[in-house]
């Protein structure tokens, strides 16, 4: 719901009638479920309460006529704890993300959010739904019973973000080997390739031989790209 640019204001000024219709149907089927809604480049984004996520699948498939499940996934809104900018030895090619936690369209109550997209093949409309999940025990209802295609998406979300899906029959690793520890798409999971080796996009990342020798002799490792050993 950022009101910065003209495009966003234009959509705020004249709400899409399809979106209003969908929100109206949603409100009738699940009163009080919608926490907040907004548009992301013209697409409807609706945030619902955690308790209504399970029934939402039925409503989306029935009342909203969204027969097609596009995806289920999650977002970790925690700021990226990553070297970049100054820390990367002036490496301007690596993106530097803001260090404060901000939330996207339709907001969030905390760090983890599950989001899913459903669409109607007959009507041509669609909506993205978001739901907040608790940070300590991320849990939300599974959609497998209504959209069987959610099976793999939820398994992926579980292994990548650690969000459990209540009612999923078979929550096990999808991509990663069984017994893999950690949840790779969480922001605090380091990208090890980047930890052990500086960003390959950095120009002249390796010190010239004489410089490297000087660094070793002087013991001053500040700012050299080849350090990285934490």
């Amino acid at each position: 719901m950022t009101e910065g640019d003209d495009a966003a204001e234009a959509t705020e000024a004249s709400p899409n009638p399809v979106h209003l219709d969908l929100l109206d149907r949603l409100e009738r089927a699940l009163p009080g479920a919608v926490v907040e809604h907004g548009t992301a480049c013209g697409e409807l984004v609706v945030r619902v309460t955690n308790a209504s996520w399970g029934p939402l699948a039925e409503v989306a498939r029935g009342d909203l006529e969204c027969d097609y499940l596009s995806f289920v996934s999650a977002i970790d809104w925690a700021p990226t704890p990553r070297d970049g900018g100054e820390d990367a030895g002036g490496d301007t090619s690596a993106p530097v993300q803001p260090t404060d936690m901000t939330f996207g369209v339709a907001g969030s109550a905390g760090r983890f959010q599950v989001f899913a997209r459903v669409q109607s093949t007959a009507r041509g409309w669609g909506a993205t739904f978001k739901v907040d999940v608790d940070e300590a025990t991320p849990l939300v209802a599974s959609w497998v019973g209504v959209y069987p295609g959610a099976d793999w998406h939820e398994r992926e979300t579980w292994e990548m973000f650690g969000v459990r899906f209540d009612g999923h029959p078979n929550l096990r690793q999808l991509y990663l080997p069984a017994g893999f520890e950690g949840h790779p798409l969480r922001k605090d999971f380091p990208l090890l390739a980047r930890v052990v080796k500086p960003w390959p996009g950095l120009v002249d990342v390796e010190a010239m031989p004489e410089e490297a020798a000087a660094v070793t002799a002087g013991g001053d490792g500040a700012g050299d790209g080849a350090g990285g050993g934490e």
């Binding site: 950022t2 910065g4 640019d5 003209d6 495009a7 992301a40 480049c41 013209g42 697409e43 984004v45 498939r61 027969d67 097609y68 499940l69 596009s70 995806f71 996934s73 977002i75 970790d76 990226t80 990553r82 090619s93 690596a94 993106p95 530097v96 993300q97 803001p98 901000t102 996207g104 369209v105 989001f115 997209r117 093949t121 007959a122 041509g124 993205t128 497998v144 019973g145 209504v146 959209y147 069987p148 295609g149 099976d151 793999w152 998406h153 990548m160 009612g167 029959p169 078979n170 690793q173 999808l174 991509y175 990663l176 790779p184 798409l185 999971f189 990208l191 980047r194 960003w199 996009g201």
Partner: protein, 395 residues
Amino acid sequence: MSTTEMPSAPDFELERSAMRHLADAQMNVELDTGDMILNLGPQHPATHGTLRLVVRLDGERVIAADPVIGYMHRGYEKLTEFRTYPQITTLINRIDWLSSFANEVPFVHAAEQLMGIEAPARAQYIRTILTELSRIATFVLFLGEMGLQVGALTPAFYGFRDREHVLNLIEGATGGRFHPNFNRIGGLKDDLPWGWVSETRQVMQLVLDSCDQFEDLVVGNEIFLSRTRGIGIIPGDIGTAYGVSGSNLRASGVDWDLRRDGVPYLAYPDLDFKVWTHSAGDSFARYWVRLQETRESVRMVLQLLDGLPAGPVMAKVPRIIKVPEGEAWVETENPLGQMGYYVVSKGATGPFRVKIRSASFSNVSILPWLLRGVYVPDVVTILASLYFILGDIDR
């Protein structure tokens, strides 16, 4: 297999044991032969890559199938968080490597939407042409390879031959046969080379001719028909609930094509084209729909070449690309189905989170449902007819 009702909350163990008892009663009254577990892959020629399929067999019949994926998982969603926007097109080229150009389009489009810039008309047209050429290159290979799966060797050579013609065109325009990396935020790297348009017209005629050839060779072939008709039927409602998209879904009678029904993108609103569907939902329908779509793509390319506007191919874009805070979901009709990127930006030079929705992932997730009860040789034809790319499953 013929049931069209939705499997409610699947209880796999219960279902498997029920099916096993049923199968026992029907087939194993005299000989007590236990179930057999067969590993297809991860290195198996019929799986087109490192898809491993664990199938439980009772004789020749599949009781349960469990695809095991992830042998090629490259973690693109994580990697995008460590790259700037222009660097990411290199990565996403490698998701569906048969139609790399088409992968770039939705991502670049998402970034353009967030930045509020639009590529010039000529760039949009060239993007559309190259997307459709990717589709043709992907589909002619399928049209040939599908014959191979039922024992016909010749069509495969034709498929590769035609794909080569189209890849040469893509290489001529972009410099890359497989990974063009030709899209830029705001347009394209270059304009088309001299003589490319007339060459493309010639190749399109070749493709049309070989579509007729495929029709004669494969579609009219009795063996092909008996191996694909009525095999691997996906009812439309089950397909949509699993997220099956693209030609696979249109072969199940669902008249849904994002080029026509989605948010208008590229030059598709200017084009006159037909969306082909087939009501059968079987392997044959998937072949037939792709054959028609190849012809339709040729028609679209010819229209685009006729209407190609003049002008620049690059909009005015800042030297360092910073995408304003916001979220965008852009989906396109890629050769294998719906491809979408949910891009979350926090105003940096790189995205905060990118959810990559690739077509093959959902198309293959229906396999446990689809393969239940089929015979082993049909497993291979069903896999081939779904037409997936491993990179598009694993990302």
